[in-house]
């Protein structure tokens, strides 16, 4: 395949149609596939994980008309197979250096902190309580506090972990959005 092949809107629409006839569901599936690809490449120590994920998606999309006719099975997993081929090619290329840490700007840190406060204030009372109690505990008290919190909410410790993860993920997205808006 030509590596410089770029994803046109028409080709992207065709990919979404193949993933799911419902456009919203197709969009969700696309994001999930891309996130899994990034995780897979990162797990194999590829510093350019995002680029390799996009390369995989482009490769599937460019051959979509042939794939539609020949392939039957889990469409999501098809990407995993292509990712393995992309990875083998990556290994043959010279691996790039990991990106350097960006310099820390104290004004930016303060902006981030203000955005975080704003986003935490906008959490529901329950989610805020869960976040502060789950991540607030340190040292030996952490295990007991999380166990107590799980009992309080009537859920298993693992379910609590996933719930805390989702709240934190949403919070991080909120902070990133707040910073972007402040920069504009």
């Amino acid at each position: 395949m030509n590596k410089d092949w770029s994803l046109s809107q028409e080709a992207f629409d065709a990919l979404l149609d193949w993933l799911d006839s419902d456009r919203e569901q197709a969009g969700i599936k696309y994001e999930e596939i891309r996130a899994r690809l990034i995780l897979t490449f990162t797990g194999r120590s590829c510093a350019e994980a995002e680029d390799l994920a996009d390369e995989t998606i482009n490769r599937v999309t460019s051959r979509l008309s042939a794939i539609k006719e020949q392939f039957t099975g889990d469409r999501t997993r098809y990407f995993f197979g292509v990712a393995n081929k992309v990875y083998m090619e990556y290994l043959r290329r010279k691996p790039p250096q990991p990106p350097p840490f960006p310099p820390i700007d104290s004004h930016q840190v303060e902006l981030e902190f203000r955005c975080l406060e704003h986003c935490i204030d906008n959490l529901s009372k329950e989610n805020r309580h869960l976040l502060l109690k789950y991540y607030g505990a340190e040292g030996g008290s952490k295990i007991d506090q999380r166990k107590q919190l799980a009992e309080e909410l009537g859920i298993a410790p693992n379910a609590l972990r996933i719930r805390a993860y989702r709240i934190r993920l949403g919070l991080q997205e909120c902070v990133e959005k707040c910073i972007t808006q402040s920069d504009q």
Binding site: R36, T40, T42, L116, Y135, E138, I162
Partner: protein, 261 residues
């Protein structure tokens, strides 16, 4: 979660320390089991938190820095983790939900507890009335007074070895709900940021990684605000390191103090 994959294995996977066949097994699960995928992402957050709070072994820290932090996305996640830790450290206490108090009020032996709750409610109303009264009289001074009234400042001079007869600085145990601002005197202010660790009897109680030096009169201090309820009577030590531009740590000094009743 897939019973064939445990938390330790996911941690090794994230640190790039897993045999190829086990790594392939985890990858298979990531693509076939949505639960495993979310588990791995959740484990990423935990790993970042363990790195920030210095809860990884030296070899794990090295793997984290060389194998885990290879993408910009993960570096951003680490940055967010530090931000969240800073916020959590700035909180005086965790608000508890109202339902937690219900057993006290409705329980079979609730009379004493009920009186205590009533007293607390009366006291809270009195405090609110006082605060409102003060704020109406002096609106510009309110924030300053409130901050000042909940913060105990302690300035500490460096000293790894205390000579005989010289005792560590004494600090009275702070009232409940108060923060303690530890001001660590430093002479070298060229570091990008500072890392500190609060130690008692060889146990690490608290760490912070994003501290900054600031002028304080003719000197410079690294301020570190911790919640007062971390401290109980006894001897404490703070280990301070500076972080140079390349990201490497350099030990600066220890600071000792004794908390008394």
């Amino acid at each position: 979660m897939n019973p064939n994959i445990d938390k330790q294995e996911i941690k090794s996977y994230l640190l790039g320390d897993l045999e190829a066949d086990r790594r392939a097994a985890i990858e298979e699960s990531i693509w076939s089991d949505p639960g495993v995928y979310e588990e791995v992402l959740s484990a990423e957050q935990e790993l970042i938190d363990h790195y920030i709070t210095n809860n990884l072994s030296p070899s794990e820290r090295k793997q984290f820095e060389t194998n885990f932090l290879i993408t910009e996305e993960r570096q951003n996640n680490l940055r967010f983790g530090r931000l969240l830790r800073r916020y959590l450290d700035s909180q005086t206490e965790i608000p508890a939900p109202a339902k937690k108090f219900l057993p006290f009020v409705a329980g079979p032996f609730s009379r004493g507890a009920g009186i205590a709750v009533s007293a607390a409610v009366v006291a809270s109303i009195a405090i609110i009335v006082m605060v409102c009264w003060v704020s109406m009289r002096k609106p510009q001074q309110h924030a300053v007074q409130e901050d000042a009234s909940h913060l105990v400042k302690v300035q500490l001079a460096p000293g790894s070895q205390r000579s005989e007869g010289v005792t560590a600085q004494r600090v009275e145990i702070p009232p409940k709900g108060f923060d303690v601002r530890l001001e660590l005197q430093v002479s070298n202010t060229s570091f990008r940021n500072y890392k500190s660790e609060l130690i008692r009897e060889n146990n690490s109680l608290k760490t912070s990684e994003e501290l900054k030096a600031e002028p304080n009169g003719a000197q410079h201090v690294v301020p570190w605000t911790i919640t007062g309820d971390v401290l109980s009577p006894g001897d404490y030590q703070i280990r301070l390191s500076g972080v140079v531009d390349s990201g490497q740590d350099e030990f600066i000094d220890n600071y000792s103090f004794r908390v008394t009743k």
